[in-house]
Subunit: 429 residues, 2 copies
């Protein structure tokens, strides 16, 4: 059987997983592709860190170019991470006619379109299924199964770290700080969790999902991003008592031909499919005009799920090599869409306010909301220290512009504070 020779950059958790799956399932892979896949060289940063690792037939080197320029290697797998360095290596590989598979979401979200173009110019494949939602094959599913449909909305829990932290906060009533500590102890959060807890990682994934769902490239600055690091347990408990859970939801929606992309904590009704996604799991809900609402659920990260997605990409490249059909872009859908304006983006909102605990206050609040043309679903006064009351309002659907009017009105009243403000997700039909 003919062999396809593969080179790899990086031999950390994902890289080791790729080696393992390729060994364990060699026979099935060969049966499906008609080729024997073989990783012949892997480049690592520090050779001595890998002195104990031995993979028969695979050379471990610290010379990246020995991988990138090896004429025998047809596919380069990048699982080393970093942005600038990985970008340079991938471009080098593409220009040397290698097909590239990467799991690097930061890189793809920022420089995806540039890399896609270089791949096309060099008539090679560039796949990155593992860059979004680890084990969930969401990108290929959008490409293949929503091709004839019009995607109207993509909502996802696409960051396992924050979902783990929020699940702990909701289930055990622990604070953000404590939940983060336990997540770090269990390896679900990194020692510097900034990218995850600030929503940046999720935003990268939403940028890639937006490209696949709508064919449109958006930049990080186009995405409204809010993290989970300032969530107060009081709001989580309040939300719980009202039948909601709290999730960090990425959303990419099409509104009258324009796009709105955001990542922010939201109140999710308990019987909503996204409410049931626990701990480090991920889920992506895709709404198509024809198909309706579908959901794809699975492990969002981890050695083996991510490695499996990398393998799916390697197999896709291999099939293309066999069929002579390499060089077609992962996602062939291209469409230019502008961003939606604040008056177009609508949602119900949860607002927690601190107000003087004296008569007539509810009237003042009603007045503020009325000025913003906002009707109210629920008002609850939850606690008072005698001087100040905590009041929670859930609005009906209003626009971001209306929300801004409410914020402005509140700011004008020095004795009313907006403590927190979250979107409330609509119940699923």
């Amino acid at each position: 059987m003919e062999e396809i020779k593969i080179g790899m950059l990086g031999l950390g958790t994902v890289g080791s997983g790729v080696v393992r799956i390729m060994n364990d399932h060699q026979e099935k892979i060969s049966q499906i592709t008609g080729r024997r896949l073989k990783i012949i060289k892997t480049a690592v940063r520090h050779l001595d860190a890998h002195s104990a690792q031995e993979v028969p037939g695979m050379q471990i080197t610290d010379d990246v170019h020995a991988v990138l320029h090896d004429p025998e290697i047809q596919i380069v797998v990048e699982v080393m991470g970093t942005i600038d360095q990985a970008k340079a290596y991938i471009i080098d590989a593409l220009k040397h006619g290698k097909h590239v598979v990467t799991a690097n979401k930061d890189l793809i979200a920022q420089y995806g379109s540039e890399l896609v173009q270089i791949a096309q110019e060099n008539k090679v494949d560039l796949f990155y299924e593992a860059s979004v939602a680890g084990g969930i094959p969401i990108l290929r599913t959008i490409v293949n199964s929503f091709a004839a449909d019009q995607v109207e909305d993509v909502k996802g829990i696409v960051n396992g770290t924050t979902n783990y932290i929020l699940t702990q906060m909701v289930a055990k009533g622990v604070s953000y700080a404590d939940a983060l500590k336990s997540a770090q102890a269990l390896g679900f959060a990194e020692s510097d969790p900034t990218n995850d807890v600030k929503g940046i990682d999720a935003a990268y994934k939403m940028i890639i999902l937006t490209q696949f769902a709508y064919g449109t490239n958006v930049k990080m600055s186009d995405v409204t991003v809010e993290g989970i690091d300032e969530i107060d347990l009081a709001d989580i408990n309040q939300a719980k008592s009202m039948g909601y859970t709290m999730k960090l939801v990425g959303e990419s929606q099409e509104i009258a031909g324009k796009l709105a992309v955001s990542v922010e904590p939201m109140l999710v009704p308990k019987d909503h499919p996204l409410a049931t996604i626990q701990n480090e799991n991920n889920a992506v809900l895709v709404k198509g005009a024809a198909v309706g609402t579908t959901m794809f659920y699975g492990p969002g990260a981890g050695e083996m799920p991510t490695a499996n997605s990398v393998l799916s990409d390697i197999i896709a490249v291999t099939k293309n090599i066999v069929l002579g059909t390499t060089g077609n872009t992962f996602n062939g859908y291209r469409q230019k869409a502008a961003l939606a304006t604040p008056d177009m983006i609508e949602s119900a909102y949860y607002l927690a306010l601190r107000m003087p605990d004296i008569p007539g206050q509810l009237l003042r609040l009603t007045d503020i909301l009325t000025k913003a043309d906002t009707s109210v679903n629920q008002v609850i006064q939850t606690e008072t220290d005698g001087e100040h009351a905590r009041v929670v309002v859930v609005t009906h659907k209003i626009s971001l512009a209306q929300l801004q009017t409410i914020r402005d009105q509140i700011n004008r009243n020095s004795d009313i504070d907006l403590i927190s403000c979250y979107k409330v997700l609509e119940a699923q039909a």
Copy 2:
């Protein structure tokens, strides 16, 4: 732009949906495939039933062979239903070099491997994504994303009619007969619901899923099938009070290299992902050795979701035509596996018994279970009419062989009746 001409057999709900999506999303489809897709002829049984239907550029005919033998037509879409007739037409089309897309699960489950072979001999494509779980792209996902992985278990709610009926029984406490009536009134059940409520439709889908997950063909007689038409509300209510819901679950599992395929009502823990699938929706849970547990959820039937899956197949064929890569099978994975024996297939069970309401009965029951080496999780005596008591037992995991021993023991005791017996699904980690 070059045109791909399509012929269709059948213009019912799904056929009309295909026409509609193709018109509505023509531009996007053309952008992705580089071709203009056009249904030029559709064959129907009774011309006069379609006299009001007018689709510009599409001829409606009652001459099937005008479609099958039209040299201009490259793709034939079969959405007419039936088994023998559809089979003959599809074979005719394949032999005339047409690519075929079908939504016909009964046909594929029974004659899939024969049709696949004919397609291969004639170097044409045969796709049938819509045959399983309507709008959920589960077949293509297994092909593409589990290629490098080893599927260990597939569990699915793959019949919308029965899930609708069971959802109503659980939520509203109505009887099977009443729930069926309301399902029929709403169009979720056919006037003759046999195929659905007896589990046959779900079994067809499990046969197809088994072929994709394990590469193995199983026959209907290899599948353990039990419907929902004999489910007693008393058991549903009992299950509810114990933290379970009732679902018709299709399962295809690999046990030590052998396969067990079944469709039967099961008690599903309330926080299990399958428990949240309501009404006519479908979901398929796939467990892979590397990736872990993933779930794919969406509308299981309906005009537009099914039509969208048909369109995905048409686009897949079109891409293959453009790339010159037609003639490869939908699922290239082939593996021969024997069926697991009753001693290998394990589950926890819910048993409802009718026993004399006199002292010493629990001892007798314990004796029976002990003889089958069965330990018990819960025993509940729920009601008594003074003479007879209703006793519910939930066992720990036992094999089908052990269950048979329990049944035999009970049969030997003329005053103990086994009223009902259901598998209990394990909680999801």
